[in-house]
């Protein structure tokens, strides 16, 4: 089976880092882990991206944005959507997690803790506003497919939690 390693040409990294997730603009697609490979072959950049969720409406836009960014840098490109191996929240980088928190979205917990939070109502998710863990699940589904709705019982702020996907 395919490995989960990324194959990305070093020259292309700064270009791809400029492209952000249209629904979470503070997060670059590189920090999101959706770019699985980007190589230059016969003057054409071949990019493979993988969706976070199957129905993610951002994928088409991400593909277009990558093409535009590469075009600005003088490259022709071809984008391919791949499903294997399936994306996991583990591929979000540390920088990406920090960007999420700063933006007001709680980053995904480990799988076990995530289960406890979503199924057993445990209070483990840290409020991105005040830092308290006195938070409760409002709904398992949130504003986008990848998030759940939470509320903080300390500062009362509602916020999104990025669900763990393994």
């Amino acid at each position: 089976m395919t490995t989960t390693e990324q194959h990305i040409d070093k020259i292309l990294i700064p270009i791809l880092e400029q492209v952000s997730d249209p629904e979470i603009p503070v997060l670059s697609i590189m920090d999101m882990g959706v770019v699985r490979s980007a190589i230059i072959e016969n003057d054409i950049v071949k990019v493979e991206i993988t969706p976070t969720y199957s129905g993610c409406p951002a994928m088409d836009v991400i593909g277009d944005d990558i093409m535009a960014a590469l075009k600005n840098a003088g490259y022709k490109s071809k984008i391919e959507l791949i499903l294997h191996p399936a994306w996991t929240t583990d591929w979000i980088t540390e920088r990406g997690r920090k960007a999420l928190e700063k933006y007001g979205i709680a980053a995904p917990l480990e799988a076990e803790a995530d289960k406890d939070v979503l199924l057993n109502g445990k209070r483990l998710v840290k409020c991105p506003q005040c830092g308290s863990k006195n938070t409760k699940l409002v709904s398992q589904f949130g504003s986008t497919a990848c998030k759940a709705q939470f509320q903080c019982d300390e500062c009362q702020e509602p916020f999104d939690y990025f669900k763990c996907l393994k």
């Binding site: 969706p51 969720y53 199957s54 129905g55 294997h84 399936a86 199924l119 589904f141 497919a145 669900k163």
Partner: protein, 260 residues
């Protein structure tokens, strides 16, 4: 030589049909729960249902894109989704049942999710790498669906007198559509023998056990039924299907070949 070609043709047609058999279930259920967009009983459940719908449509796209590739003519994923006639859809009758009250919507979702979860778990082992990749991807999403619907079955079943009665009614009414999930078409059988498809007959016992476990916890009685409805897998649908397709296909029928 000729026999070889026609054998390959049969194989191709069966694989095409097999993919449609999986995808049509998700398309039609996705359309049904998508109807709740803006009409859910509360904001959270409304958003949850549209999320389920979006996941299912996303999965459907992957299946239809693959089916279009296999067909190898000028058919696109949209043609497959939007331009077939009622008899050409081969989804099970369960998923086309109309939205009544919220208990019914949850009941339908739950009875499908339990199946869907077991089915995708097995489909991951398919020798067809595209199907196995779609299954692995979808399974992650469907485990959330199953959590959500099981949770609500328990909440409504073990809730108030009224919610309990409605949940019981829903399960009683939908039960007749569950057996069809485990019927095999000729295409299914060939795909199973090729190591591509899932032998759904083998999922049946686990399915009814898993369903009963949740229903019991929800204080809902497991129906006992001898006769079941079938026909969807042969394209013979209930009267609700035509109305559903009329809405689903409206834009393409009214403005042929329109694009966004």
């Amino acid at each position: 030589m000729k026999a070889g070609i026609s054998l390959r043709e049969t194989m191709k047609n069966n694989l095409y049909k097999y993919i449609l058999g999986i995808a049509d279930n998700s398309l039609i259920l996705g359309q049904r729960i998508g109807e709740l967009c803006g009409h859910g009983p509360s904001l959270e459940t409304d958003i949850a249902c549209t999320n389920l719908s979006l996941d299912l449509f996303g999965q459907v796209r992957s299946y239809y894109q693959y089916a279009a590739k296999i067909a190898g003519d000028d058919r696109t994923e949209d043609d497959i989704a939007m331009l077939r006639k009622e008899r050409d859809y081969i989804n099970v009758l369960l998923v086309e049942q109309p939205n009544r009250d919220f208990a019914y919507i949850i009941g339908r979702q739950f009875l499908f999710d339990v199946y869907h979860y077991l089915f995708l778990t097995e489909l991951q082992k398919s020798k067809d790498l595209t199907l196995s990749a779609i299954a692995t991807k979808s399974l992650k999403e469907v485990s959330y669906h199953l959590r959500f619907s099981s949770d609500w079955v328990k909440r409504l079943g073990d809730g108030t007198e009224e919610s309990h009665a409605k949940m019981q009614d829903a399960i009683d009414g939908l039960w007749t559509y569950t057996d069809e999930l485990f019927h095999q078409t000729d295409a299914d059988k060939q795909m199973v023998s090729e190591g591509i498809g899932v032998d759904v007959t083998k999922l049946k016992d686990t399915y009814y056990n898993n369903v009963a476990e949740v229903l019991t916890e929800a204080t809902i009685q497991v129906p006992e039924l001898k006769y079941f409805q079938k026909g969807g897998k042969q394209g013979i649908h209930t009267e609700h299907m035509g109305y559903l397709l009329a809405e689903l296909q409206y834009m393409q029928r009214a403005y042929p070949n329109m694009e966004w």
